[in-house]
Symmetry: C2
């Protein structure tokens, strides 16, 4: 009944904002891009590298993530970590999500 | 700690996809644009008219809403109603939302 493209556009729109929140929550423990990509995928927030890497740089620019190069291994990796400001945003977004969730549940119950 | 603009950008991104779902759920009972605008606002899905009206036309074009002119009153009004296809999309988006909700709750619990 629904064609794939239409469905995927709307699903993508629904999911878009959650990737930022998921990143801020996961990166309370420092991690590097590729590992984060894998974690997001396993947790149900599939996103591709071409979307994630610019997003991480943008969040760092906004002061929501900090980064450090880990040069202890053969291949230096940039580790990202959620900043205090990022934790504050994650808290606010979580509360907003909960409100939307309650509002949607109310609407669904009114069929 | 967070400036208003940054916060509002991220909140908006989180909310964007939910407006489509909220419209599809509310319009299972036919209604016209202005009344819908008011309902969305009261239910916590604030959106402005300049965003909602083009969205309604887009959803109609996608076959997710149907419309009829109600000419019984002094001022003719276009009533929108969620189509069968729209109901199917709302079901799918609702399931996807629930999955995202579960995934976010899991992440939050891992602090």
């Amino acid at each position: 009944m629904l064609d794939d493209e239409l469905l995927s556009t709307h699903l993508q729109e629904l999911r878009r904002g959650t990737v930022v929140l998921a990143c801020l929550l996961i990166l309370r423990r420092p991690n590097y891009g590729y590992a984060l990509l894998d974690l997001l995928d396993r947790r149900g927030f599939a996103v591709d590298a071409n979307t994630l890497y610019p997003l991480l740089r943008r969040l760092e620019k906004q002061g929501l993530l900090t980064s450090d190069w880990n040069t202890g291994e053969a291949r230096p990796r940039k580790f990202y970590r959620t900043s205090g400001r990022g934790v504050a945003l994650a808290d606010t977004l979580s509360r907003d999500w909960d409100e939307l969730d309650t509002a949607l549940r109310t609407l669904k119950g009114e069929s």
